[in-house]
């Protein structure tokens, strides 16, 4: 995997004394680091242009986060149309230094710079408060919603703050979701059965054509093996499954390689998802990656959830294909569908998640967290 290339690191003055800022000053040459006397202007409105989006991937702002670090995954807001798994997110930054053609950040983000938050201690307190209130409940918390969990972690070392916290509350699960191979910086903190290290993964052909600047297939597999050896449970997200003429051969290869290298006991859960994106995202994708990219080539349809998706029959075929290939090898592989309708669950995998022992807990209703409750009362 290539080194992280940053043109500039901006540090707001009130973040200067933070561990994160000090680390950046140590790692990067002086000419790359700029201390800001006042807050960076984030007043940009509306969608970013191609040039702004690409600039934002190469420039990092160290700043304090003023909102709630800990909240429900946005998929949960579409509960009327999709089956949601109660995932929570902890946002320790935003934007990603890698470059996947289908990335939803292209339509989701409107801040013109990559951010890493210097006040992680506030995030830790927010989490700890919830954990003390509900220590027995199986909350699952991911750090990879609007940023890759680990692609910058060798610089930020956030993993080294979070893993010890989750060790104190073994019923809560922390998930790092990544397309990098950056795991060396926390391996010594293992074993830890409730810190899940997961990879979004695709066949080598798709990684090469659509997931630019990410770790290659073998690098992700090797990193997963390292984590397994140090006692971290693993997860894979085959998401998005992208249609292309040789999709069956390529996804067969992917499944077979995973089966060859890992057992169902190593992989706590798999999720599958097919390509999906907000309709307006197609313009940015076409502009940045051209018409030869598979994500721009295929016919997509506006679904009930408001996202562009493949035809329902094609989705089912893809899910069934991957699902069956795993299950024919060993019925113990735990697989679920991400952001899909109940009808797709029924047709593709012939089961509802509430009826699968290994998945039931994911979909069981959990008490709302503090900021969900306060947002609800504002809405009343």
């Amino acid at each position: 995997m290539k080194d992280v290339i940053l043109d500039k690191i901006f540090i707001e003055k009130n973040s200067l004394k933070s561990k994160l800022a000090q680390r950046m000053i140590q790692i990067f040459p002086k000419e790359k680091v700029e201390i800001l006397e006042s807050e960076y202007d984030l007043s940009h409105k509306g969608q970013l242009s191609k040039e702004q989006f690409e600039w934002s991937k190469k420039n990092l702002l160290i700043t304090e986060f003023k909102g709630h670090f800990f909240k429900r995954c946005p998929g949960a807001t579409q509960k009327k149309t999709i089956t949601c798994c109660n995932y929570y997110v902890l946002n320790l930054g935003s934007q990603c230094n890698m470059n996947c053609s289908y990335c939803y950040l292209q339509s989701y983000l409107n801040t013109p710079i990559m951010k890493a938050y210097s006040n992680i201690d506030k995030a830790i307190s927010e989490l700890r408060e919830m954990m003390i209130e509900f220590p027995q409940l199986p909350y699952r918390v991911g750090t990879g919603e609007v940023i890759d969990s680990l692609s910058l972690d060798h610089l930020t070392l956030f993993s080294r703050e979070l893993i010890p916290l989750f060790k104190e509350f073994p019923n809560w699960t922390l998930e790092f979701k990544t397309k990098s191979n950056r795991v060396d910086q926390f391996l010594d903190l293992g074993p830890c059965q409730n810190v899940l290290v997961s990879w979004s993964i695709n066949p080598p052909h798709i990684i090469q054509s659509e997931e630019h600047d990410t770790a290659c297939f073998e690098e992700r597999i090797d990193a997963a093996k390292k984590c397994r050896e140090k006692g971290f449970p693993l997860s894979f997200h085959i998401d998005p499954i992208i249609w292309h003429p040789e999709w069956k051969e390529n996804y067969s290869y992917l499944v077979d390689e995973i089966i060859k290298n890992f057992s169902p006991e190593d992989i706590k859960v798999f999720s599958l998802g097919t390509l999906r994106f907000q309709p307006e995202q197609r313009f940015m994708m076409k502009e940045r990656f051209g018409m030869n990219s598979y994500v721009n080539n295929s016919e997509m349809f506006l679904s009930e959830s408001g996202k562009m998706r493949y035809d329902w029959h094609l989705r089912n075929e893809m899910f069934q294909f991957v699902f069956k290939r795993f299950k024919n090898h060993n019925p113990k592989w735990n697989i679920f569908l991400c952001m899909e309708t109940p009808e797709t669950w029924a047709t593709s995998v012939n089961v509802s998640p509430m009826n699968v022992p290994g998945l039931k807990d994911f979909f069981r209703p959990l008490p709302k967290i503090k900021n969900e409750l306060s947002e609800e009362s504002i809405g009343d």
Partner: protein, 283 residues
């Protein structure tokens, strides 16, 4: 910096004292045409709305006044301006160093986000001097965000695609979809027949769609199943969003007819499920 004596608030002035530098002739919808207002003129210090007599309402620029108010008043009298018109207004203001509106506020008043790209697109459109195109943009209330797909083209190809709009017999949504598919095929360097740039109708839309998505709709696995439905049932293959399927209709006026229909439907079901591997059809 404007002279202080010109920094006044709204007043009534006689038309003889008005030096009109620029006029926009508004496009009023017939049933919304106001009885009083006829024209609007922007001058260096503000803008003037002509009434039906010799007097004018003159809104002068005041740097202490919120320029958002100016845009609200302006958009109230001119609700139907297109993004092309707005760019013309901005260019005029810049030329005469007037600060009565900012681009962001002016566009916001028309619920359009301002972006420099829209400006260059509008300038290009104006340079084409194609009245039919401007009329299409105005009648269909086309917003610049709806034309974003054109930015990937060079200006020559962009002109070709824009001209397609003036030859279209389709609705606005269909026309924009047609233009987008044409753009995609252009970017894919497909050799396109000139007829795609000429008269645009439903059959041309379908033809273009098949060019753009050769693995599409007509080869849907459900169609390959050749399900028989029986005489009582009308079945039509339709698409609803991301799902394609059969819309079935029947008419029953007695329990016997209903039973007959159900028997036929059961036969159709057997027909449907007799080929277990519908995945093969997608090759």
């Amino acid at each position: 910096m404007l002279p202080r004596h010109l920094m006044q608030t709204t007043e009534l002035i006689h038309k003889s004292s008005l030096k009109c530098l620029f006029q926009i002739h508004p496009r009023w919808e017939e049933n919304k045409k106001p009885s009083v207002l006829l024209n609007i003129a922007i001058d260096q210090v503000g803008f003037t709305i002509q009434s039906d007599d010799e007097n004018y309402f003159h809104f002068k620029n005041n740097p202490t006044q919120d320029s958002t108010k100016n845009t609200k008043i302006f958009s109230h009298f001119f609700p139907n301006l297109t993004f092309v018109d707005l760019i013309m207004v901005l260019e005029f203001l810049e030329l005469h160093k007037s600060v009565i509106f900012t681009p962001d506020e002016l566009f916001k008043a028309y619920q359009i986000p301002f972006h420099q790209r829209y400006r260059s697109l509008a300038t290009e459109i104006l340079a084409l001097e194609n009245k039919n195109l401007l009329a299409w943009i105005s009648e269909k209330k086309v917003k610049p965000q709806e034309l974003i797909f054109l930015f990937n083209l060079n200006s020559r190809d962009r002109e070709k695609i824009l001209n397609v709009a003036t030859n279209s017999l389709l609705s606005k949504t269909q026309t924009l979809q047609y233009m987008e598919w044409l753009t995609d095929l252009q970017l894919l360097k497909c050799d396109l027949n000139n007829s795609f740039y000429e008269k645009v109708n439903e059959s041309k839309l379908e033809e273009l769609k098949n060019q753009r998505f050769p693995n599409s709709f007509l080869k849907h696995p459900l169609l390959e199943k050749k399900i028989t439905w029986g005489n009582q049932i009308q079945a039509q293959f339709v698409r609803k969003n991301d799902r394609a399927g059969f819309q079935i209709q029947t008419f029953v006026s007695s329990p016997e007819e209903l039973a007959k229909t159900i028997t036929q439907l059961n036969k159709s079901l057997e027909n449907w499920t007799s080929n277990p591997n519908d995945c093969e059809a997608l090759k």
